[in-house]
């Protein structure tokens, strides 16, 4: 419990620092804004990469998101954490990219994987980080942009439901719905395409 309190306190002081840096950046302090970029770029890029399934595209989206954040600093509400605000900009950009992609391209990226021996291993195969990323990129194409963003922000990045709601500009109930729908869809596709990775007797 003491560790938890320490974590919460450090997060609160970091957020306060972010707001002070944002206030300085609003007055034209570029070094302050560069500090904010340095602090949050890993999370924003990772989040964008998981939403888009493409590291290079995610880098571009993250860059545009930070530039837009700079241009709209006057609109930043300190009631939000700075990171949530940038995630919101990046999520909207990523959703625009997903919607602009040709639906035919998305269909080509998903393929039916041949399921091998019906007698799979008794224990689920271990998945390497890269394999998890590849499978998620494949299956996430089946999600709607909103489901995808909600799943990445909530389940993968571990942001609070309230933060995800702020980032997506919707209610917490809507975020939960998106997450539950995404889970149902991913669960079904995992059971169909990659049953060897699932524990025997688990939920399908």
């Amino acid at each position: 419990m003491g560790v938890l309190r320490l974590l919460v306190r450090s997060e609160v002081s970091a957020e306060r620092d972010d707001r002070e840096l944002a206030a300085a950046a609003l007055k034209g302090d570029e070094d302050a804004f560069a500090s904010l970029v340095r602090r949050h770029q890993a999370g924003v890029r990772r989040c964008a990469a998981r939403i888009l399934g493409d590291d290079e595209e995610a880098r571009d989206i993250a860059q545009v998101a930070f530039v837009k954040a700079w241009e709209n600093l006057a609109k930043y509400d300190p009631a939000w954490s700075f990171s949530t605000w940038v995630y919101r900009i990046a999520s909207n950009l990523a959703i625009d990219v997903l919607r602009s992609r040709d639906s035919r391209d998305r269909t080509h990226q998903t393929h039916l994987r041949l399921v091998g021996d019906s007698e799979g291993p008794t224990a689920p195969r271990d998945l390497a980080e890269g394999e998890v990323k590849r499978i998620f990129a494949e299956l996430a194409n089946l999600l709607s942009p909103s489901q995808r963003v909600a799943f990445v922000l909530r389940e993968v990045e571990g942001h609070a439901t309230s933060e995800v709601a702020q980032a997506m500009g919707c209610t917490e109930a809507t975020v939960r719905n998106h997450v539950f729908q995404a889970r149902t869809l991913l669960r079904r596709e995992l059971a169909t395409r990659y049953p060897e990775y699932l524990p025997k007797g688990g939920k399908r």
Partner: protein, 173 residues
């Protein structure tokens, strides 16, 4: 947080009901404890794709920050160019308006008026043979007031010819 505490919070985790700090602690435990992770995945298989991606991706800080700041500088330059382009347009427009205003003012107040009849004007003429008391016809030509003096109605050879003089009304003949 120990395994027992994590397993007790499985339902709350799946229903998205855990407090943020508690959920962070559960995730941290799942990242390091295979047994608890498998128990969670057995309850909700999609967690295979979420807790399995919890590791941060290595990124190159320096070049990314430099590219963002470069984008910001370009954005400021573009905004500066747009602002000055607008000022140039406004300056040219202001000069044009002033020139036009000055020209109009000059024409109205200083330049002599010149009246030109644009089209033949049909005017009612004084009947032939009337005395000089008869008021000459007054017509307007191009907004300027003029007097029309019928000098002659033509002789026997040209009975229908009329001559009109356009005269400034202020110069009464």
């Amino acid at each position: 947080m120990g395994c027992e505490q994590v397993r007790e919070r499985l339902r709350g985790f799946l229903d998205l009901e855990l407090e943020s700090a508690v959920e962070s602690a559960v995730r941290a435990h799942l990242a390091s404890c295979r047994e608890c992770r498998e128990a969670y995945i057995a309850a909700e298989p999609s967690l295979l794709l979420s807790v399995g991606q919890a590791q941060p991706v290595a990124v190159d800080d320096a070049t990314f920050v430099a590219s963002v700041m470069g984008g910001i500088h370009q954005s400021r330059l573009d905004a500066f160019e747009r602002k000055h382009a607008m000022r140039r347009y406004l300056a040219v427009a202001a000069v044009a308006v002033l020139s036009l205003t000055a020209t109009l003012a000059y024409r109205v107040t200083v330049a002599p008026t010149t009246t030109v009849a644009v089209a033949p004007t049909a005017v009612p003429l004084s009947p032939v043979g009337r005395s000089a008391d008869v008021e000459p016809a007054f017509v307007e030509v191009e907004g300027e007031g003029v007097r029309l003096y019928q000098v002659a109605t033509g002789g026997t050879s040209t009975p229908n010819v009329q001559v009109a003089f356009v005269v400034d009304p202020s110069l009464e003949l």
